[in-house]
Amino acid sequence: VSDDTTSAESSESPDTTSAESAGATGAGDDGPTMTAARYADGSITYPPHPLGPDGQEPVGTVDLSDYTAEVVTWTTSTATPPGVREPNSLAIVEFDVEGEPVRAIGQLTTDEVDIGDAVRPVYCEELRDPNAGIRERESQEWDGFRFEPL
């Protein structure tokens, strides 16, 4: 994903970076990104998909780490799989990208949170131990963004 150069600078004018490699995070010049795909119909999805809700390929990307989000709902899971922190607080959040809603799921930095709270993405190099679970280590990325209340 080193070809992903989406950054705060380029977010004003959607670039045409390929979303094919889109796991979510990319190490661009300005650090890791939380890459969502933008489609011709204006919709944005996280993660990117080969074809969007409109049935068409993405036309650009958006780095959600440049935005804040609102907590839609959250939980604290105490029965966690191998390699996952326990307890594991998680939230579904909604970003507002120039009026377009985009949802994401991720770990929380705290369990002191409520529905409707504002959060921001903070980078984490390793969200769970890639060697402990059933998923093949090389098949996906293990870094990403946790959500921290503002």
């Binding site: 939980t75 899971s77 105490t78 029965a79 994401a104 059933i134 293990w142």
Partner: protein, 384 residues
């Protein structure tokens, strides 16, 4: 079109079993053939509903193994994996094989062996169905349930106790199911004070980890009478998918796969939700019983919890839900569950449900995979 009939059914004891997946499948398969009085060489198609025998046990190729163990060669075999809804998808495949004319007699056996793994390992096998952006955060199916339950309670102003009452009801129903993993009544305080698993949900809001198997035998309705007078007809069946990435759904409290699959099934059966007399819903988590009972059209969105509070879904209520005890008390051997749901509805509509029997001409089973990712809805009616 000649409709498809179910002429035999069986299920093994669900629970913590010594048997491995091959033995569980053979136990249910043999019992099902015996129930219908059909010899194994009459089986044209043999389907096995199973999510993860390779991951759980290192045993793949289970349909062929079962064909040999049941002496059903040269039957055509296939494994049907649709995660937790493998059973429902197997019912669909079996129905399709007979409806299309490809098979005269189809045996469907669903089964899973899970209890030899720790809860953490079994949770991880099931969570492996998630998207990489979910999996890397340690998202599990129970955590989806916690996320959705919190939003449901908040959105519809439902009391936490209403979820607990689903567990109480289904445990009570399971008392009369000899195959259930738990035949133990629980009171509301026990549910509400049990350990937190995925806040706000607690231990008793979740189904257990289970070994078990269930089977069905299907043929065309026009020849069903040659085997038995007591058969059920698959009058409607539909399957549908929703997003793989759960957070991308516009309304997290609506399972579009349930809505879409049931609309197909209702239309095929020429039935409405009001016509359903008894239903088996996929209560892997208590919150799922609310979501499905609404998305199947039994109750308005956000009102499903009231039906439980008012006893509407009790065994002696207007619409009994999960007379078998549901996944909650019966147990949830992944690939077996959707088959066992149809086993219960078959027993209800042919009038052979014993102490669990309710007045039922039309029954519905809704089997959910992932967190609503894949769904099969099946409607059965008695032959009378």
């Amino acid at each position: 079109m000649d409709r498809v009939a179910i002429i035999g059914a069986s299920m093994t004891q669900f629970g913590d079993r010594d048997a491995w997946v091959r033995e569980l499948l053979a136990e249910a398969g043999e019992a099902c053939l015996a129930d219908a009085g059909v010899s194994p060489d009459e089986v044209d198609h043999l389907y096995v509903s199973n999510m993860a025998s390779g991951e759980f046990e290192g045993q793949t190729g289970v349909p062929n193994a079962l064909a040999h163990d049941l002496a059903a060669m040269p039957a055509y075999t296939a494994r049907i994996d649709q995660t937790s809804s493998s059973g429902g998808a197997g019912v669909y495949a079996a129905w399709q094989s007979v409806a299309s004319g490809a098979s005269d007699v189809t045996l469907l056996v669903g089964g899973e062996k899970m209890t030899h793994r720790s809860t953490a390992e079994a949770t991880d096998v099931i969570a492996s169905l998630t998207h990489p952006v979910e999996y890397k955060h340690g998202v599990t199916l129970p955590s989806f349930a916690g996320l959705t339950a919190r939003l449901y309670l908040d959105t519809y102003d439902a009391p936490r106790e209403s979820l607990g009452k689903v567990a109480v009801k289904n445990h009570r129903n399971g008392l009369d199911n000899p195959h259930a993993q738990f035949r133990k009544e629980v009171d509301l305080d026990t549910v509400l004070e049990s350990p937190v698993v995925a806040d706000p949900l607690r231990l008793y809001d979740f189904c257990p980890i289970t070994d078990g198997s269930a089977a069905l035998l299907l043929c065309r309705e026009s020849v069903a009478k040659e085997y038995t007078d007591d058969y059920a007809v698959v009058t409607g069946i539909g399957g549908a998918t929703d997003t793989h990435v759960v957070h991308e759904r516009a309304d997290p409290t609506t399972m579009r796969g349930v809505v879409e699959s049931s609309e197909i099934a209702y239309e095929m059966a020429d039935r409405d939700p009001d016509d359903v007399d008894v239903a088996e819903l996929h209560d892997m988590f208590t919150i799922l019983e609310f979501l499905q009972s609404e998305d199947l059209g039994f109750f308005e969105k956000g009102e499903g919890w009231k039906a439980v509070e008012e006893g509407v879904t009790d065994r002696d209520g207007d619409l009994p839900i999960n007379t078998s005890g549901g996944l909650k008390s019966k147990g949830h051997p992944l690939g077996a569950s959707g088959v066992a749901q149809v086993y219960e509805i078959y027993k209800q509509v042919v009038g052979d449900a014993g102490p669990r029997q309710v007045e039922a001409d039309v029954g519905l089973a809704c089997n959910v995979g992932g967190f609503g990712n894949c769904v099969t809805t099946t409607i059965l009616e008695g032959s009378a």
